[in-house]
Symmetry: C6
Subunit: 73 residues, 6 copies
């Protein structure tokens, strides 16, 4: 089973969750080691600018997911 | 009730407010601890570059919301 | 009266001005204190990279405004 | 005469030049003082990362100009 | 054989993998020396902000690949 | 002869190469001095984050080139 079978979601909130997943997978595919990522987590989770940057990546992926779903109109 | 039931808003200003909400939720979903976020707030709220970056995330999300609403034409 | 009644502008230059306004409102909605923002202004206004970043936010918002106006074709 | 009468250009290269102009105007509208900008110029002109960031803003504005011109197809 | 014969992929997951490939090729075309890139890898792979930035580039390329594939609808 | 006569390319790979060219021209138009750029090259070519940022600019320009070519479908 693919971790990303489709960009279509039942509703807007699930679409936002998918954008978060895509953002995390962009990291995971670059740094596949779970332990390293776990060690890095408290760093960006406690840094205001890091969190803003994470939110920017989510926003970029949400553009894709929203367009794929015709904005759930 | 979903925190994000729709991308459709009554007018442009509400669309901009929704873009702000999406930007904040991108942070909140990454750092769910209210206390930590409250501690970080005065840091980015008093840093010119941090505020510019926050505005960039809002602009990215506003692109999505505006497209969803056909630009309120 | 809304500060953002419409994305439609009479011409391209007014559209660029609206993009600037949206960029500033993204900051103002995050840091509503006029005094704090006034204190931060000389910092980013005298920093080359800060100004480039501000211009990036304007460019992102201008994409939205230009699309809304069908590029004033 | 407006500094930005139209987004339509005669060809692709002029469109790229317009994207550069938009990027600079984003800076100029934020820092209107010619002397200050002249003082900042050697800073970002001699910094690799600053130049990359400037190129990113130009790329963002070029997306807008190219779409406005239907990609000069 | 081209390293990039098409943007069309069989499914969404392969599209995301192509976005990763495009992001890496953007680096490789700028720094073609395999040894240098190998030396830089542990740096960004162990830095939270670097990984977020890599994920941002992937998200940008994924927008292109997803649009090319009509979002695999 | 223009350095940028068209955004149309024969295939996807040439489109990616054009995106690289656009990214470099964004730098060159800002810093036209060949010697200065040559001096800056080893800096960003040996910095992981700089290379990621360059790849981001390429990705942004590739969005434009890909759209211009209807994604070479």
């Amino acid at each position: 089973m693919s971790w990303l079978p489709t960009l279509i979601t039942a509703n807007v909130e699930e679409g936002f969750d998918l954008a978060i997943k895509l953002s995390r997978m962009g990291v995971k595919k670059t740094q596949p080691d779970d332990e390293v990522r776990a060690k890095l987590r408290p760093i960006y989770e406690n840094d205001a600018d890091s969190l803003t940057n994470v939110s920017h990546v989510i926003a970029t992926n949400f553009q894709t997911v929203a367009a794929a779903n015709n904005y759930w109109r």
